[in-house]
Amino acid sequence: MSWFISQANAQQPAAVPAVGGSAPTEATGTTVAHGGGEHGGTFPPFDPSTFPSQLFWLAIVFIALYVMMAKKVIPQIGGIFEARAAKIAGDLVEAEKAKAETDAAIVSYEASLAAARNKANAIAHDTRSRVAHEIDGRRHAAEAQLAAKLSETERHIADVKNIALDHVSTIAVETTEAVVEALVGKVGRDEAAAAVAAVSVGKH
């Protein structure tokens, strides 16, 4: 490194008069322009003749960069972060509100569900009892009808039986009359009937 520095220092006396001279651009221009290609014995980073130009342009560029950062970039990016934080906070509040609304909706839904269930139960119960009532009524009616029919039929049977029994006595009288006539001779119908009646009465 000391070699380079001594080289640079050695170059300096030659470069300084050139810069301050009457035709400075020409002189330094040649040194610098050809320095790249042929090196002119100086290692470029230690060539002091390029320092003013580098410092000058670095100052311009860095001041511009600093102003851009301070005035534009940092407020802009900082603003993005702030806006994002605000948006997230706002969204969280909104989500909280929506959640509360949802909870309320769930509660009211469950209440109305319970009410509907109760109502359904009541309707089912009503219907069941009404149907049962109706069934009872119909059954009673049917039973009454059946009972009526039964009694009527019984009466009919009794009638038929009585008629049949009447016929039995007539048959008995005629049979008696015929039997007596065959055995003892002619006999009156009334006598036969009286005899039959006497027998059947005695029998009973």
């Binding site: 390029t50 600093y66 950062m69």
Partner: protein, 252 residues
């Protein structure tokens, strides 16, 4: 050495593009100036244009801008505390400038602005002057406590103070030389190995095979140099933050 293709020093040459002379000083617009301006333009493109949509959900460019910002902001906040955030424009400018200039240097045929010691020295002096001036402005003579750490036995205070002063004075030097030397050495190494490849391939079939080894080296070194480009920007930034912390809280 005269062959531009294999000369490792040629890439650092400063070439005039426009002759400018102000008051006897040669402030010509050179390739170095051009790449400083390109660096500025690239930073403006990424940070200003990238974040101009101000979207709540960032796109790619905005993510890069936000990540850079947060990275530097966290580094600064961790090193210098909340009070250090007033230096955010300076630290962010330094980080973005050094990083972009270093990364630009990795592009073939591009000039590496940070490979010139005058540039890194200027940036280092900017940091040290900021630290010193702000340190005295904010703390007055209390800032000098920086050189007398508390809890040190009286007997060795002069020695410690001397060491602290030397350490303080060597800060700009180390800051400037570290960045400059890393960029310079990395680019020279890359060019030397690349030069081997060029030279060996010129030697026929055998040389062609022999060129494979330096070629692999160049590929590996390129990856390493990208790491160094980022790392040196980060090191420059975090050291700046630590020095700013001294200005904000001297005496620890």
């Amino acid at each position: 050495m005269a062959d531009v293709r294999t000369d490792p020093i040629h890439q650092f040459g400063i070439r005039k593009l426009v002759d400018i002379n102000i008051d006897g000083y040669d402030v010509s617009f050179t390739n170095s100036s051009l790449f400083m301006i390109l660096t500025l333009a690239a930073i403006a493109l990424v940070l200003l244009w990238g974040s101009s949509s101000r979207a709540v959900v960032p796109g790619r460019a905005q993510s890069v801008a936000e990540l850079s910002y947060e990275f530097v902001a966290n580094t600064l906040r961790n090193a210098a505390g909340e009070g250090g955030m007033r230096f955010m424009p300076l630290v962010f400018s330094l980080f973005m400038f050094v990083l972009t200039a270093n990364i630009f240097g990795m592009v073939p045929y591009f000039f590496t602005v940070t490979s010139h010691i005058i540039v890194t020295a200027a940036l280092a002096l900017l940091v040290i002057f900021t630290v010193t001036i702000y340190g005295f402005y904010k703390n007055g003579t209390h800032f000098l406590k920086l050189f007398v750490p508390s809890g040190v036995p009286m007997a060795i205070v002069p020695l410690v103070t001397l060491i602290e002063i030397i350490s303080f004075l060597s800060r700009p030097l180390s800051l400037a030389v570290r960045l400059f030397a890393n960029m310079l050495a990395g680019h020279i190494t890359l060019k030397v190995f690349a030069g081997f490849v060029v030279t060996l391939t010129g030697l026929g079939a055998f040389g062609f095979l022999g060129a494979l080894l330096p070629l692999i080296m160049v590929v590996a070194l390129t990856a390493l140099e990208f790491l160094v480009a980022f790392l040196q920007a980060y090191v420059f930034t975090i050291l700046t933050c630590m020095y700013l912390n001294d200005a904000l809280h001297p005496g620890h």
